[in-house]
Symmetry: C2
Subunit: 334 residues, 2 copies
């Protein structure tokens, strides 16, 4: 295993400190925890947004802490759910007296631990709501998950719910908006190579020299099928048509998309996919209003990509385009 680390046991702790070194104007670490919170939080009255999950998916989620997105992000060990006490620390860091929305990707451990943390918050008088993200259309039930998994589309939830919270929406309104994002969201990924979880020391799975796995999970959980390598055109079309069908997208509808690297895939490959995506949406008579392209939800150094489509209405479009300023996603208004 070749990684730029010191010891498996200290990776997450060190990485969180390093995030604060790189982004002091955005992030502070809540002392004694694995929580990154805004370094310049609003004083009062804003609904807090907290997300989190296992590490190894950077920039998720610490990279999305900042104006217009999250208030705090809770890290677990690599590919491991954060514990309830850590989530609770995140809730407390995000609480400004208007309640806290928890953005949880649908993995059994995450769901359970965020739920326990909600009980702790409830006992403290902090109102919470949960939005459960399950955008991965590849498989129903999987390793770690009952139902569909939550993957890269989660970033659209952060962005849109975060904008609503920043504008002063109350907790129930922010939850409704977040739920409508999830209801209009579909993602699917593929892997060209495995990643290596540091604690395991060897690749999670093996793929042949001309083989790829469609529908891969972001922890290397099994997808739908192993297929011979496709061209960028075939791959993009394959993912796209599946997502369009899942969302029942029809003529004239407005969408946003994310072309996400699983980690090792170079930007030029994502750009080639984005070009195909634009052509596919034209053929489908969909209006592609926004493309997020880059590393948004990675799986360590896995090679591969995921595609996410989000059906837009005017509200989601406005919130998606609202100003935000975080380490990993910035929308600048001039």
């Amino acid at each position: 295993m070749k990684k730029i680390i010191d010891a498996v046991e200290t990776i997450v702790d060190q990485a969180l400190d390093g995030m604060v070194v790189a982004y002091p104007e955005y992030l502070q670490r809540v002392e004694g925890t694995l929580v990154l919170a805004r370094s310049k939080p609003k004083e009062t009255g804003k609904v807090g947004l907290v997300s989190g999950g296992g590490s190894g998916h950077e920039p998720a989620h610490g990279g999305y802490v900042g104006y217009g997105m999250l208030d705090a992000a809770v890290a677990g060990e690599v590919f491991t759910s954060p514990t309830p006490d850590q989530v609770y620390a995140g809730i407390k860091a995000a609480d400004r007296g208007a309640g806290v929305l928890l953005v949880v990707k649908n993995y059994t451990g995450d769901v359970m631990n965020f739920d326990i943390a909600r009980e702790l918050a409830d006992a403290d008088g902090i109102a919470t709501e949960v939005v459960l993200v399950n955008d991965d259309v590849a498989v129903q039930d999987s390793l770690y998950t009952t139902g569909r998994r939550g993957i890269a589309g989660t970033v659209f939830v952060h962005k849109i719910a975060g904008a609503a919270a920043e504008e002063g929406a109350d907790l129930s309104s922010v939850k409704v908006i977040a739920d409508t994002v999830v209801a209009n969201l579909a993602s699917m990924g593929c892997a060209l190579t495995s990643c290596t979880v540091p604690a395991n020391g060897k690749p999670t799975f093996e793929l042949g020299a001309n083989e790829m796995e469609m529908g891969i999970g972001i922890h290397g959980e099994p997808g739908i099928e192993r297929v011979p390598m496709m061209s960028a055109s075939e791959l993009t079309a394959s993912l796209y048509h599946r997502l369009v069908a899942e969302l029942s997208l029809g003529d004239g509808e407005r969408i946003a998309a994310m072309v996400n690297s699983m980690g090792a895939t170079p930007a030029i490959e994502l750009a080639i996919m984005s070009g195909h995506l634009a052509n596919l949406t034209k053929s489908s008579k969909l209006s592609l209003e926004k493309v997020l392209m880059g590393e948004f939800m990675t799986s360590l150094e896995m090679a591969g990509a995921s595609l996410t489509l989000l059906r837009l209405d005017q509200q989601r479009s406005t919130l998606l385009n609202a100003a935000c300023d975080t380490p990993a996603l910035k929308v600048v208004k001039h």
Copy 2:
């Protein structure tokens, strides 16, 4: 070779179109060329900034086109210098009547082709200057280069010279500022794995299972030596001390740093390096004022990282922190 592409011959052309799909508010492609230019250029009077080079180093350089940085970026084929006619097209796209500064990384082909393009521009009455970036302290003379190579530190030149140009500095002033950046800039990289150039179809070099190469070039050109894998602490210290010595940095001096992924290295590993960097600068009594952490100058899917240090004075610090808005680098003012 596993890559999300359609054909080796069309990678760069398709990727440039895909960049415009993802960033239409920033970029337009100059028709019939491999040039990306600002989609909303200033009308007149601003010194133009043009950079370019072989593709495969994304986000360099198209990702740095936008307010406060470049006016145009010229792409070559993967790891291949852009041709003079393409550079000339970039100069014309960037020209607003106040002359154009060319930011050139020191590779023989780039230097030659940008020089020929300057002659074409001169014949057209467009004043140009060149800043030659040679921040890689690893080796003197190398494959493709006489003297030191230009690598990730180039992004600091884009940022600082770009801010000066945006503020209305004239061509000779922008050149002076860019030259002082180069004079105070040092970088060095390392590779844990090779990358595969699409046209070659196989890895450029091989490294053993416990081996890394120090001083690697961004095209996989040989570095200084192959060594057993180091810890993140040892690696960061090794790069750091070499750069501090090269720049003769002493007590109390102000620096900015870049912790750059060569492509496949996960963000948590960069964050661990950034943490060590902060500790090292404290021990050296240097004032670390800014860290750029992420993918700034990649080598396709190479695993590894580079470290860059830039000595700051008040002018460089102010320009580095000035607002900018490009696909790959944004400094937001509130």
